[in-house]
């Protein structure tokens, strides 16, 4: 069983991953899709205005990727600290 100090480090690294991923989560949906939507709409992606595309397509793709990245990182972290099941 890993010791207490290691578990603290494990938790800290977990929190760091969370803050990175949640920052991206916030940027693609709230910043690109809502706050900066008018500015981004001046850029085009084929037939899509970019801001509109993020709000109705892009953000959702990123959400899916974020969860799978998190799973990958955490599985590695669990192994590193020997806390996997």
């Amino acid at each position: 069983m890993p010791n207490k100090k290691n578990l603290k480090k494990y938790w800290k690294e977990n929190l760091r991953y969370l803050s990175i991923l949640l920052t991206i989560w916030f940027i693609v949906s709230y910043v690109f899709g809502i706050l900066l939507v008018d500015q981004l709409n001046t850029i085009r992606l084929g037939g899509f205005k970019l801001g509109f595309w993020f709000a109705q397509q892009g953000a959702m793709y990123v959400f899916v990727i974020l969860i799978f990245v998190y799973v990958r990182w955490m599985n590695k972290l669990d192994k590193k600290y020997n806390v996997n099941e």
């Binding site: 069983m1 578990l7 494990y10 938790w11 977990n14 969370l18 991923l21 949640l22 989560w25 949906s29 709230y30 899709g33 809502i34 706050l35 939507v37 709409n41 992606l45 084929g46 037939g47 899509f48 205005k49 509109f52 595309w53 709000a55 109705q56 397509q57 953000a59 959702m60 793709y61 959400f63 899916v64 974020l66 969860i67 799978f68 998190y70 799973v71 955490m74 599985n75 669990d78 806390v83 996997n84 099941e85």
Partner: protein, 564 residues
Amino acid sequence: MWTWILVGITFAIYIGIAIWARAESSKEFYVAGGGVHPVINGMATAADWMSAASFISLAGIVSFTGYDGSVYLLGWTGGYVLLALLLAPYLRKFGKFTVPDFIGDRYYSNVARFVAIIAALMVSFTYVAGQMRGVGIVFSRYLEVDIDTGVYIGMTIVLFYAVLGGMKGITYTQVAQYCVLIFAFMVPAIFISIQMTGNPIPQLGFGDTGPDGVYLLDKLDGLQKELGFAAYTSGSKSMTDIFAITLALMVGTAGLPHVIVRFFTVPKVKDARISAGWALLFIAILYTTVPAVAVFARTNLIETVSEQKYDELPQWFSNWETTGLLKFEDKNGDGIVQYQANPEINELSIDRDIIVLANPEIAKLPNWVIALVGAGGLAAALSTAAGLLLVIASSISHDLIKKMVKPNITEKGELVAARLSAIAAVMVAGWFGINPPGFVAAVVALAFGLAAASFFPAIVLGIFYKRMNKEGAIAGMVVGLLFMSYYILKFKFGIFDGGREAVAGLKEDWWFGISPEGFGTVAMAINFIVSLAISGITPAPPQEVQDIVEDIRVPSGAGGATHH
């Protein structure tokens, strides 16, 4: 004819699964024995999550509101990121059966447990009322029975597999229901995408050009403006409100008990994480198609009816006129349909549900595709109803009876209690389906707002802030629930200002310009502030509770979901 065959086959499958997957123990009844494969659980979660509203109404809402509809697309998918990162793995490690279980144990208090039970029941009942109505409506439109008969048939089916199989039966029927509903949604979408743009992938098709070489979205923006509507890609809600609604829906999604409880059914913490990923992937397949369907349907609809002679409109128009979903009133008597934003000139009123229901007919697709949409709508409504009924049943038999009223109840007794509660819950839900409160649409906002205002802060703080104590959590949940209820009662029902007629005039008084749909964001913030403030001036939680928090942060040693 096709409809009866397809609905018959799918119902036979659901019942077959129910007989095969009977629950033998309370653990199987509540969490399917805790041994569900993460991909299977992801699929079941997706079916659980996507209700009649997602299947039938969402594309219509997006179609009629354009960019503003993004709040639902973002809100109902982005919540899964929060769920996967902040809640699911830790709750799985905690390893109990229900959300009130976690609240009650983490905050070492039956008062906290009771507040959580009340919140779970409020959220689930408001939600399930709409589902049973949805079952009735789909039946009445496709099988030409009346809505009440449809509700009875739906009740019988749900009763059968929810009561017999509990979570185990529900999980495996939901997998079948996911397959039916996604197939039913994608087939017409792909057909229409090919028809309109030549691109078989709807997600790309709606950014493509039509046969005239103009980008579809540009054409639609132009059509909308010609008729006096806001441009499709820009919408008309304020940015603050869009932001607040999206956040409230995301946080509410992550706090809905019938979604959270699905992550108790997988064997390991690792599985809970990946299972959320699969769930979102399966959901995103439908949700990224929705905006495409919305654009195709809107363009098609405007081109088919606008400025056309009423007598020469296609057959589907009069079909749907008889259901009352389409209404034409020739105000200027010229025999031509004027579809305009200006209500003085506009002669056509369209129910937005028609976008999904009639879309295959408008696009002239074969009959079996139209029938498929009916079977898909039923699958969506039934799967969500069953998931909600299970939360209601376990709140009563497990949280209330086993944990509070009669702790020495036997395993067998608890299973009987669970089944009886499920039967009672189906009856109540059916009653709501037959006598729908006139406010079904209004209370959905309430369900998300309540979940955001109560569960989400209490659970997140319980995991990420060791010092959070029962005083803080209870105060936060109660204040959050009160603020949310007050806001809905005031601005959605007009209770303090002379009834529902007054609601429209109160828009000016919205706090920070935030609509009742988005107020969950404010109520959640209030919950967080109150929780932190109160816990700061009251004693820290006992050592053994702090040890529980340490323990749930680490995956090892999860074991099955267990009784203590």
